[in-house]
Symmetry: C3
C-alpha cells in the first residue's frame, strides 16, 4: 500500500485507526515506569523496548567526549533514594515515583533536620498534590521533589537522607533508525528520550515517532530516506550533529516531535528561517486540522540545536499543547491518563499527512493548456449542466489552472485554500486521462 | 466630452444617470423572452437587437470545427416542447417559459406514464415554485424543468411528451465590436450570451456592456483599442481564442462581465496571476464602492478560458452577487424584477471608472521637487492659514509628494487611500500651473 | 554615563524622571507669552531662551532671499493691536492674548462699524469661549481672532481698530545646534518655532528637543553627529535645506518633533519611503509604548519639506495626538494646562529610546554557532533545570540564534517581538563571555 492510499484510508474511515491509537498508548505504558535521564540504564532500557519492533541502532559516546561547546558528562544511575523518618518510614521514595529525585543527584547518606534538608526540597505550592520535575545536570548537587502537601506534614525530623546513585564515566546513548528511499536526501525526525516518568513530555513523542517509523518501513517504496533519532535532549542532538557531518548536507527536511499526546490542538513551530519545505507542508496540514502555526523561538526542544546558525537545518517542531503551556507540564500530573489514544492518533495522522505532502508534492504540466480541456468527454465532468461544481471537479480545475510546470500541488493548495490530498487525487485522475504530466 | 468629464459629471450628479439605468433595463426587457443557448436562432436574434445601436459584427463558425480541445457542436433550435395530459392540456409548455426545456434536448415524441417521464424531470424541492435551469450540451439527452409544486400535482398519466427540436449541422455565432484607440493595445470586455430567460445571468452583463460600448464609441478619442465580445459561454470564448492568435499579444487588459444587475455589492474576481493592471484598477474602484475583491478561482465564467495557462491573459471578472451565491441563480426567479435600473447603473459607472483609470493613469514628474512648491502664489491654496487642508489641496500634495516619474496616479491613490479621480483632477491643475509634467 | 545606561536607569526607575518633566514644563512657561511668527523679534527671543542651556547658533537670512520656490518675506513685528469701543475700552487686545491678532496682519488704523469689521473677525462658533489661531503670511491682509461669545456681545459700534505692526525688510531667523559624533553621518531633529502662545503645538516639541539635546551633549561619546534645528515652519526648513546642500548627503536619520505634550498616545508618522532606519527604530519604540504607527502623508509639519522628492531624506515625525485631531488644536485652549510634565517625560524617553536604537543597533556574529553554547558553565544559565526560561536567558538565546553577522539587534527584536534594550544587554553579556563579536 502506498502512503497516499494509507492516508486516504485512515482519513475516509475505510481503515479504523483506533487500534493504532491503542498500540501507541500501550507502548507508553511499558516505558512510563523507567527512570530515564540524559545518560544511564534507563535510556538503554527504553531503546531496547523500541528496538523490539523497529531496526533501531544503538550508538554510544564515552563520557568526556567533546561535542562542540559541550562535553559528554559522567553517566548517572540510581539504585535507591529516599528520605525516611526516625522510624525508618520512607516519606519520600524514589521507587514510588522517579520524579522524587532531582535528576543527576550526587550520592548522599546523612541524617538531617528538616531545616537542613529544606534547601534540597522542591515543591509546587500552587499544585499541592503534584511532584515537580527538576534536574541538575551540570551543577553537582542533589535534591528531592515532592508534593507540597507532603512537605507541610513533615516535622523537624531528624531524617535519614539517602541518595544511592553513581556518577561515573560511562556513555551517552541514543538510537537511530534509517529507512532508505529512492533519494539519498533525508527527512529527519527527532524525539528526546531523557525524561523520566512523564507521559506527554515525551513518551508521547517517542510512541508516535515509533509508529510513524513502522508505517514508513512497511511501504514498498519511499521518495526520501527517513532517519529517526531517539536521543537525550540538547546533548544528544548536539552529539549526533557532531558525528554526522557527512549526513547534514543531505538533510532536506527535519522535524522535532514532542508532547504529541496532550489535549490541546496541534501546534507547529516553524524552522528558524521560517519558509522551509517542512514549514509549508506542516502549515498546510496543521492549519487544516484547526491547529496553530507559530514562528521560531530559540527556546524549546532540540530544534534549537538543529537550527543553530552553524548547521542551519530546516527543522520545525510538532507538538500538541507545547511546553509550559499546560499546568501538568513537568509534573507528576503529566501521567498516562493525561494522554489519550485519540490524541495520539491525530498526531500520528498529522505526521503522515505531512509526509504525504513531502513524498507526493510535485510540479505538473497541463498538457491541454489552451482553454479548459473538455472534461466531460473523458468522463470527468457531470453530464447535466447548470449546477455548481463538486469538490472533485474543483480540485481538477485548480490543478489544470495552475500546473505550468513550476507550480507544485502544495503551491496550488495554498493559493486555492484546498486540501493537498484532494489535489493529489485530482492530479492522478488527470494524469491518467493524459491531460497532465509530472515534471521530472 | 472626455471619459474623465463624463465620469465626473455622473459622480457629482451634474448628469442624471437614471435614464441610463432605465435604458439598460429596457434592452433587457426586449432580450428576456428569447430562447438562447450555445448555438441557434436565439443567439442571432440577440445579436440583432444589440447591433441596432452599436456596430457589432457577427461571426459564424460551422459545426464540426475544432477549437483546441473542443468541437463546435450541431446547432440546436426548438419549435415546440411540452408535456400534455390525456385531454391535451399542456402541463409543461416551452412557450410559456423557455427554462421548461433542458437546453440541447434531443427530439422526442412519445406517450409516457409519470414513472417513465420522472427521470427526465428536474425540480427544486426547496423552492417549490421556481423552475430550474438545466443543460445537456455534450451528452445527448432530453428533459423538462418545472416547479416542484407542479410536479406534485401530476398524476400517473399517461402524458404526451413532445420535444420538437432540431440538432443539426449549423454554426456557432458570436458578436464582436472593436473601437480603435490611439494605441493598438486592447482592452477586451466579454459577456456571455448563451443563457435563455435569465435576467441577471446574463442579460444584465450584456446590457451593461452594450451601454459601456456606446459610451466609449461616443468619445472623441481613446487611449486603448476596446473590443467587446458577446459570445456563448466556454465554447464561444474558446472559439474566439482559437481564431484570434494575432490579437492575443495586444490584449493588455481583459474583463468578463456578468450578473451586473442583482442586489448584491460589486464583486471583482482577480485574474489568475492576481496583480495585473486590470486587477489594480478594479480593486481601486470596487473597494471604494464598498464592494468585494476576491482571488482567482478556476470555476465561473469565461475568465477560465482567457486565463488558461496557454493564453495567460490578464482577465478579471466583475459581477454583483456571483453565480451560486443567490437563491435565484439559474432559476426562473432570476427575472426582470430581480434586476433594477439603479443596480445596473452602478455597475455601468464602476466599469467606466475602471476605464477612466486605464485611460488616464499616468506617471508624472514633479517639476518643483525641492520642498513643497508655494501653491498659494499660484492660486491653488487657501489664503488664510491655521485650518486643516481640503480634499483638493490634499490631492495636489499627494501628487507632488510621489510624482517622481516612476510612480503613477493609481500607485499614489493606493498609497494615499484616496480616490483616483481626485488625483487625476489634481494632476491636471498642477500640470496647468507648470508644476507637473506627464511622462511619455 | 552612556546613553544605554541613562535609558536603562530611567526605565527601571533607578533614576527618577519627574524632575526632567518639570524642567521641560518650566521652559515652556517662559516661552509661552512670547509672540512668535515665521519672522520677527519673538523668534529671536525664543532662541535666546534656548541658548541659555545649549550652544544653539542663530542663523539669519535677509528678506527677499530666494529659497527654491519660496522667497523670504518681510519681517513682521507688532507693537500693539486692539479693537476698542467708543469709550476706549479694548474689547479685543493683542496684549491680553497674542492669538487675538491674525499673524502677519498689515498695519491698520480706522474707525469701523461692526458690519465693516466683521469680515476681519475670526471665531469658533462651536467652541464659543476659545480664540482661534489664524495666519495670513503670503496674502497681505489683517484680522482679529476672538471668542465667539465675545463677538456676540458686540453691538454695531463704531469701533476704533488699530494694528500697530511693521512689515518691513528684515530677516528669517532660525537656530541650529550640532553635537559631533564618531561618525560624520547625522541624525537631524527639527522642531518648528513659529507658533505664538500655543503650548502643545509646538512649545512641547521645542522643550522636549532641547532636553534631548542637553542629554546627548552630556554623553562622553556619540556614534552619530546630532543636529537640532529650531526653525519657523515650512519656510524655515526650506531655507535650511537651501543652505546646507553639503550636509544633506550625510543625513542618515531625521525626525520632526511636535505636539509632544498632549494627552494622546505617541504617534509616529513614517518617512515617505516608509522603510527607513528611523522608521524601524521608531516603530519598535512607539509600538512597545502602546503608541500608533502611521504611513506618510504629505500634510503636516516640516517632514513635508525634508521628504520632498528633490531631497528624499528619511524624516519621520513623532507627536502625541497629531494636528487637527484634538479640539484644542490651533486655539487658545492649547495652553500650558493642556500639556503635563509626565506626558513630556514620556515623549523625552521615547526619543531617547529611539536614539539608543540608532546608537547601539549592531550586527553581531555568534562565535559558538554549532548548537547552543553551554551558557551554564559561563554562569549565564540557571543551575536547576526543569523550569521555563527567564527574560534575560531568552534575550541571550534570541541573540545567539540570529546573530549571523547580517542580522542586527533591531532585526532580532522585530522577529522576536522583544525589547531592543533587553537584547542590547544580552549582547553585552555574551560579548563579555566571548560568545559574540560585533561586526565592524
Amino acid at each position: 500500500m502506498t502512503l497516499a492510499r494509507h492516508v486516504d484510508a485512515l482519513r475516509s474511515g475505510d481503515q479504523d485507526g483506533r487500534a493504532l491509537g491503542e498500540a501507541m498508548h500501550a507502548v507508553m505504558g511499558r516505558l512510563y515506569p523507567i527512570c530515564r535521564s540524559i545518560t544511564g540504564d534507563g535510556v538503554r532500557a527504553t531503546l531496547d523496548v523500541l528496538a523490539e519492533s523497529a531496526d533501531i541502532q544503538r550508538r554510544s559516546i564515552p563520557s568526556g567526549t567533546q561535542a562542540f561547546d559541550w562535553t559528554v558528562p559522567d553517566e548517572w544511575n540510581v539504585r535507591d533514594a529516599y528520605v525516611a523518618d526516625r522510624h525508618g518510614h520512607r516519606l519520600i521514595d524514589f521507587h514510588r515515583h522517579n520524579l522524587h529525585l532531582v535528576s543527576y543527584s550526587v550520592p548522599v547518606r546523612a541524617t538531617m533536620t528538616l531545616s537542613e534538608l529544606r534547601p534540597h526540597l522542591h515543591t509546587l505550592p500552587d499544585r499541592p498534590d503534584w511532584i515537580p520535575y527538576r534536574t541538575s545536570y551540570y551543577h553537582r548537587d542533589w535534591g528531592f521533589c515532592l508534593a507540597d502537601s507532603r512537605l507541610r506534614a513533615m516535622d523537624e525530623g531528624p531524617y535519614e537522607v539517602v541518595v544511592d546513585s553513581t556518577l561515573e564515566p560511562g556513555e551517552l546513548t541514543y538510537g537511530e533508525l534509517v529507512l532508505p528511499g529512492s533519494s539519498t536526501e533525508e527527512v529527519v525526525v527527532s524525539a528526546h528520550i531523557c525524561h523520566p516518568s512523564l507521559a506527554n513530555d515525551n513518551l508521547a513523542g517517542i510512541a508516535v515517532a515509533r509508529e510513524v517509523a513502522r508505517t514508513l518501513a512497511s511501504l514498498p517504496s519511499r521518495r526520501y530516506t527517513y532517519r529517526f533519532i531517539f536521543a537525550p535532549g540538547t546533548l544528544g542532538s548536539i552529539a549526533w550533529l557532531s558525528r554526522n557531518a557527512d549526513v547534514l548536507p543531505r538533510v532536506r527536511h527535519g522535524l522535532v516531535v514532542t508532547g504529541l499526546g496532550g489535549p490541546g490542538v496541534l501546534v507547529y513551530k516553524r524552522s528558524r528561517r521560517g519558509g522551509a519545505g517542512i514549514d509549508r507542508a506542516a502549515a498546510h496540514v496543521v492549519s487544516r486540522r484547526g491547529g496553530e502555526i507559530r514562528g521560531y523561538s530559540p527556546y524549546g526542544y532540540d530544534e534549537r540545536q538543529f537550527n543553530a546558525i552553524g548547521f542551519d537545518l530546516p527543522f520545525g517542531r510538532l507538538s500538541r499543547t507545547p511546553h509550559g503551556e499546560y499546568p501538568e507540564y513537568h509534573t507528576s500530573a503529566d501521567d498516562l491518563s493525561f494522554v489519550t489514544p485519540p490524541q495520539l492518533l491525530e498526531s500520528y495522522l498529522a505526521l503522515l499527512e505531512m509526509m504525504d505532502v513531502l513524498e507526493n508534492d510535485r510540479r505538473y504540466e497541463n498538457l491541454s493548456p489552451y482553454g479548459e480541456p473538455q472534461l466531460g468527454k473523458r468522463g470527468l465532468y457531470p453530464t447535466t449542466g447548470g449546477k455548481q461544481a463538486t469538490d472533485a471537479v474543483m480540485a481538477m480545475l485548480w490543478v489544470l489552472a495552475y500546473s505550468d510546470g513550476s507550480t507544485s500541488l502544495l503551491d496550488i493548495a495554498s493559493v486555492a485554500g484546498v486540501d493537498f490530498a484532494g489535489l493529489r487525487g485530482a492530479a492522478a485522475s488527470l494524469e491518467a486521462a493524459g491531460l497532465l504530466a509530472a515534471e521530472r
